[in-house]
Symmetry: C2
């Protein structure tokens, strides 16, 4: 049985990471490491894969550098519309929300919905009301975000726990300047987020193309080396004219991060002592 492990991403970008200042890059790597470490701590203390991915994603949602939760970018109307999804590979239970702006941690809202069972997918103010009713925490300021966001990308986390179970989580503010009401791939189970007994996947990039290609579910069903299968899925996105990236983790312990048309921020840890992080092509990659 492979040791527990966690793999996270902080979004893919055509140019953000490669043109960022050294200070921003260092800040991003600190944020990724903090999220990775929060997930690792959950696994080390015997937590489930769901515990780990939620712990990691909440750290990234609270970090204004990433486009999720507190750092979510604005719509074309200047509003905040956050999407998130969570899936348990062992049970296929899942929860997803779209178009929320009053939750401090959308992924925590998903976790509360997942524990309830149904509905598994909700939109807008109804989704907020549901999550708040289940105990999710309000943002302190529920108006528009106070300063122009510099956030880069969607965030996601995958974990394998000591029981051999997988989980996947994705959280995002969506596309900067998006039309209000637009739903990207992150909360679409099978497109941007998926976990089953064999594989967990979290995606980031041109969301419409990930929906049209059902990327996360396609990759979970693919055979052969994981890195090759991931590249094949991203080549479908590229063939449609888009960019994006993903992370994937199999129950056999194999893990990969991949991107087409840009860079993807990533960090990983395994209980047998491997860890790393990176932003650009020349930085470390999980393998």
């Amino acid at each position: 049985m492979p040791s527990p492990r966690i793999l996270i991403h902080g979004g893919a970008s055509v140019a953000f990471w490669r043109t960022a200042t050294p200070g921003i890059r260092a800040q991003a790597l600190r944020g990724l490491a903090a999220a990775r470490d929060a997930g690792a701590a959950a696994l080390r203390s015997g937590g489930s894969a769901i515990d780990a991915v939620c712990a990691a994603v909440m750290v990234l949602e609270d970090d204004p550098l990433f486009n999720a939760g507190t750092g979510g970018v604005r719509t074309s109307a200047g509003t905040l519309e956050l999407d998130a999804a969570l899936m348990c590979g062992a049970t296929s239970r899942c929860a997803a929300i779209c178009g929320v702006n009053r939750l401090l941690n959308p992924i925590d809202g998903c976790r509360r919905m997942l524990a309830e069972g149904k509905p598994v997918f909700m939109w807008g103010p109804h989704a907020e009301q549901r999550c708040l009713g289940l105990g999710a925490v309000l943002r302190r300021n529920d108006g528009p975000v106070p300063v122009e966001s510099h956030a880069a990308g969607t965030v996601g986390a995958l974990a394998l726990d000591a029981a051999g179970h997988l989980a996947a989580a994705t959280s995002t503010g969506g596309l900067a300047g998006k039309l209000p009401g637009r739903i990207g791939d992150s909360p679409v189970i099978g497109a941007g987020t998926w976990a089953d007994h064999g594989c967990a996947v979290s995606c980031t990039g041109d969301g419409e193309l990930f929906i049209r290609s059902a990327v996360a579910h396609s990759l979970a069903l693919a055979s052969g080396p994981l890195a090759v299968a991931a590249a094949q899925q991203l080549s479908r996105v590229a063939a449609l004219g888009g960019m994006g990236g993903l992370i994937a983790l199999r129950a056999d312990g194999s893990l990969t991060a991949a991107v087409t048309g840009g860079d993807i921020a990533r960090a990983w840890w395994t209980a047998d002592g491997v860890s790393g992080d990176g932003l650009l092509a020349g930085d470390p990659w999980p393998a």
Copy 2:
């Protein structure tokens, strides 16, 4: 090359169809035949698979016996929240909306969004505004539906056109008494609706379980006889404690309707002279 063909469904139900009066059953069969014939007419006149599935679904959306469009059932708050999705197998272009109540024909709204390209998925009033801005037609009465709905099930249509291209469409009022904001599988590309070069699928039933199992996309990727693959997918839904049905059509011309835990309303037509319809297990089935 197989001749053009269309296959539609009018929803799966544990008890509605088997306990309906002969008058209601006859009305349902007339509605299904009218929708099937509208799709067939589109194909006969050289229309695309997208033309055909939209023509068929619009007839069912306008028929108060079916749970879509005009006949959509109410939420627990007494409101109407309609979901719909459309996908073109040849291009992977798609469009989906959830939680709309002011559109006369949600599938027509999807068609207008699909023609635009992006976004491919939108929620609530923003989705309505987008579709209305693209020319979709308002319902005459945009308040709550005036009489208690007797609608049975979600509706869907699949077509194969003379160019060998597939399309899928699904439209629904969702679960009767659902929590406002709940999104079922119908508008989730890969769960309730899917089309690619090889296969098109439209599902109906316990939506949460179809999302958790990514049924439509799983079936599209399955090999072996279509009816066997469809039964395998529905057995996954049954294993999770639910009921539901689906229709599927492959580019080789094979087509099937299947249901677990109830009945599914269906009708079909092929340009080489086969047609039929049915509600109960003992009625005709496509093969």
